[in-house]
Each structure stands twice: as C-alpha cells, then as structure tokens.
C-alpha cells in the first residue's frame, strides 16, 4: 500500500490540482463565456497565498482563504468589461489578461520573486487536503447542474436571445459564473502554492491555459464527468507511456484534433448521450410492444 502510494501519490496530487483548474474552466464555458482567464486567476490565488505566507508569516488557512477571495474579486472585476464582448473576442481579451498577470509577476521582483520565483513556501497541503477540496468542488459543480443555476447557464450558452426573452439578466448570471470560476481557480492556485515549496511565474502561462482547456474539451463540457474523465486521461496517458511524457504538449495537441473532429462533444458526454439514447429507444420499443 505504502509503495503504491509512493509511486502514484504525486500523480494523484497532480490530478486533483489539475481537476480544480479544469472545473474553473468548465464553469465559464457552461455559462457561454469563452474565457481563458483560469490560468491568470490561479496565478493570483497562488501568489496571494504564497506572498502572505512567506513575507508576512500568515497562517496557511488564512492564506488559502485570501487566495480564493482574490481569485473571486479579480474575476468579478474582469467580468465587467468582458460583458461587452462575445465569443472569440472574449478569448482574446482573457488571453491578454493571462499575459499581463504573467508579466506583472516577473516584473514585480520585490513582491513575487520575479523570474526566479517565490521560494520557501511551507509545504502544508498534502493528498488529503487536495482530495477534500476536489470532492467539495465536484459536489458544487454537480449541484449547480441540478438546480436553477445550471438551467440558467445552459439557456444562456445555447441562445442568449431566448434567455433574455425568459427574463434572464445575462450580464449578472455570467458575472456569477465568472466569480465561481475565479473562486475555484484562486482556491486551487493557493493549494498549489502550499503543495510545492516554490512558485515559478511561468507555471501559469500559455501551456497551463492549453492544458486546462484540453481537459474540458477532451472530456466534455456538459456533464460533471467531462472534466473528471478528461483530466484523468490527459494526466495518466503520458505517465503510462513514458516516452509520451517528453512530448506532453504534442500529445495533447494531437488528441485535441482527433476529439474535436470525431467526438466534438468530448469523450464522456458522447458516451453518456449514447447511453441515454439507447435507454430512450428501449423504452419506446417497450411502449410499442405494450400497445400491440
């Protein structure tokens, strides 16, 4: 058991952290916002927690709370100008935001440690802490899908004009999606800080953004299972076939091209839809049988 954990523990930790970022990305997409800001919001959460701990000796629990709060606040501020943009323009604007946060982290050497990174963060978060956070966030995402929040997000994503005609205030609900996405990104950013001794500004750059987007696109954007499955496959695949690990980004790129072309709804959602259709067909057949 212990040796099993030694071998797979780090991968499990990596999975749980990445799962949080995947859910942050999933939430904005679900509400019809094409935002790529998760990388920047995670960086804000991570650096808030890290700086508070290293420079001010703040208790980690408070640091995690502050990181979550800063992620939420930054997302809320960002949602205001973004409400005026649509589709690919939102993607471009949030990509710029990621780049700005990255540059600021490198530039503000006195505060963030600059390109050298922020060192000596106490490593107080282990697998149990990550697991608790991942379970909590998974539950919240599942709950959102089963209450009025999920229904409202769905109709906004599918057709904004319809949403408005039903009395939905689109900017308000998209701000909510943003704030939740920022809270999750900030929380998992802070957890990452307390899990890894040091923060390097480049962790939260373009490859982070591509990875989180890949988890959701690969797994699926509709059900809770999408990010769970997508993240698992994309984390495990390079570990199972070691040569692939060297070319992780290349593998992600290839898989994305394949999935977008052949399973545009993602692996998990496609399987769920197929299962649902089979069940409906069986029920219709049974009803037809009963009529004869």
């Amino acid at each position: 058991m212990a040796s099993l954990y030694n071998a797979w523990g780090p991968i499990l930790d990596l999975y749980l952290l990445q799962l949080g970022f995947a859910f942050s990305q999933y939430l904005v997409l679900r509400a019809g916002v094409f935002s790529l800001a998760t990388a920047a919001l995670a960086a804000i959460g991570a650096y808030t927690a890290g700086i508070l701990a290293v420079k001010h000796g703040v208790h980690p629990a408070l640091g995690i709370l502050a990181g979550t709060g800063m992620g939420t606040a930054a997302a809320l501020v960002l949602s205001w100008p973004l409400a005026r943009l649509r589709g690919v323009y939102q993607a471009i604007a949030t990509l710029a935001f990621v780049q700005i946060v990255l540059s600021l982290n490198i530039w503000a050497e006195g505060l963030t440690g600059g390109a050298m990174g922020l060192m000596n963060i106490p490593r107080v978060v282990g697998t149990p802490g990550l697991l608790a956070a991942a379970v909590a966030v998974t539950y919240i995402i599942w709950a959102i899908g089963r209450t009025r929040i999920g229904r409202t997000f769905d109709v906004i994503r599918e057709n904004e004009a319809v949403a408005v005609s039903l009395g939905v205030s689109v900017p308000r609900w998209q701000a909510l999606a943003f704030a939740l996405s920022g809270a999750i990104a900030g929380l998992f950013g802070a957890l990452e800080a307390f899990h890894s001794y040091a923060l390097d500004p480049n962790i939260f750059g373009f490859s982070f953004l591509i990875a989180t987007l890949s988890y959701v696109v690969f797994g699926g954007r509709k059900s809770v299972l999408g990010p769970l499955v997508g993240t698992a496959v994309l984390i495990l695949l390079p570990e199972l076939a070691r040569p692939l690990a060297e070319n992780r980004v290349l593998v992600y790129g290839l898989l994305l091209i394949l999935v977008i072309n052949f399973l545009p709804r993602g692996v998990a959602d496609t399987l769920l839809d197929a299962w649902h259709r089979r069940r409906l067909a069986r029920r219709s057949a049974a009803a037809a049988e009963a009529l004869r």
Binding site: A143, R146, T147, D154, L166, V170, D273
Partner: protein, 256 residues
C-alpha cells in the same frame, strides 16, 4: 383602455432608414390581435421593439398601464411578456422537459447559496418546476416524448415546445412570430386550437402572420403594416378586402 399592450406613435429609425413610423396599436387581454404585412413590412421590428431587443427611437409602449418603452429586455419579460421566435430557437440536444423547465426562470426564488449547495429548498424547487413542466407538456399532448431531445421532433412539435416554454413564464401577453410558418394544414389547425385556448385563459395575444387564412379564422382585430407604417386596421374581413392592403401584398395594378 385597461390592461394589455398599447403602442403610441411608435417609431424606429436605423440611420436614415425608417423601420417603424407612427405605429398605434392596442392588444387587449382575452383576444387575439393580428399583425399582417408583406415580407419586410417591419413586423418583426415591432416585436423586437416591444420585447426590448431593439431600442425605441420615438413614441412609447405601455404594458398593463406601465411604461416599458426603455425598460431592459429581461425586465420586460419579467413583467409578464413572452414571445416565440420566427425561426424556432430551442436547445436541440436538451430534452423537451429541460427546454420547458428553463421557461420557469422568473418564478424561481431559491437563494443562490441554497442552489450552489443543493440545499433542500433548491432541490424542492427543482422538483416543483419539473412537476409543473410535466403538467404543461401533458396538456400539449407530448408527455410520452418528454425525455426526448427537442432537436429530433417534427416542426409542429418544436413550435409547441416553444409555446410551452413561453407559457411557463405565465405571461399576460404572448407575441407569436409566425407560429405556423412551414406547417402543413393539420399542424396549423392544431396550432389554431392552442392559440384560441390561450386567449380563452384571458391572455392578450399578438399574432404576427403571413398566412391570411389563418389570420381570418382567428383574429378579432387585425392591423396591416407596410413599409413600417400601419395602412389599415379593423375586422379581419374588412382589412383583407381593403384595396390598399391588396396592393401592398400583390403590387399595384398595371396601367391599362
């Protein structure tokens, strides 16, 4: 005039183009009011002005005695005004049930935190909305298909789902934008029954239509629009035999 919708000298300009000019109409509750006109007459512009999708250039709109001329679109919907779309707009992959349930948005009151954590209040609300949606679907005779994706339904059934979604908001006025476009005679006769039923419940109905026969059979009062201006109003028969209306539809007679 008490209740219903009232347009007073409504106007809309896009730059130099006049899309609606000095339009005066009233749509009383419990009756079906028709709005006809050839393609490009400005019928959908009127719908978009009333529902707040377009900003009004001049004139005013009253709904149940309240001025909604410059109210935001979602606030107008929450005030009890629903619409259907000329080109059907459903969530094609979602089930009929899910499509109808989103219509209850303005009646949902559970707190955000309760919904986020799926506390009992939020779960109860979702169950209540599902029951109300199923009752509505049953009334429209689609209960057996409730779990099927809306995108796979026939054209007539998709129109019904759109009307159910609008009805779920429990509106006092419904704007129906060409509800029988592309339907066969059987489907359109069924739709006529549905619309009569809505008016009988005391709702105000504004029916925007192309199909003259359909309008004649249903509407108590008809307005005819051409080039953004009202060219005739009155009983369906009188409007349809008005030479100005005939000319708008068929063009002016050749000089003999």
């Amino acid at each position: 005039m008490t209740g219903g919708l009232e347009l007073r000298a409504l106007g809309k300009r896009f730059g130099g183009v006049v899309a609606a000019d000095d339009v005066n109409m009233s749509v009383p509750p419990g009756r079906i009011t028709g709005l006809i006109g050839p393609n490009g007459a400005g019928k959908t512009t009127i719908v978009n002005l009333v529902t707040g999708m377009l900003s009004v250039s001049s004139g005013s709109i009253l709904f149940d005695g309240r001025d909604i001329t410059h109210a935001p679109a979602h606030a107008i919907a929450r005030a009890g005004l629903a619409r259907t779309f000329q080109n059907i707009r459903l969530m094609p992959e979602a089930s009929i049930l899910d499509n109808v349930m989103v219509g209850f948005h303005r009646h949902e009151t559970s707190g955000l935190l309760a919904a986020l954590l799926r506390l009992p209040a939020a779960a109860r609300e979702t169950r209540a909305m599902r029951d109300r949606a199923m009752a509505l679907i049953g009334r429209f005779g689609l209960a057996a298909l409730a779990d099927h994706p809306a995108g796979g339904l026939s054209y007539g059934h998709q129109r019904r789902v759109e009307i159910m979604r609008a009805l779920a908001t429990d509106p006092r006025l419904i704007l129906l934008d060409e509800p029988v476009a592309g339907m066969n005679d059987v489907e359109s006769a069924e739709m006529a029954e549905v619309i009569r039923g809505l008016a009988a419940e005391g709702r105000a109905i504004l029916l925007i239509e192309h199909d003259m026969r359909f309008v004649t059979g249903l509407c108590a009062h008809v307005y005819a629009l051409d080039g953004g201006r009202l060219i005739a109003e009155g009983s369906a028969r009188a409007v349809l035999s008005d030479p100005v209306v005939i000319e708008a539809y068929l063009g002016s007679p050749l000089d003999a």
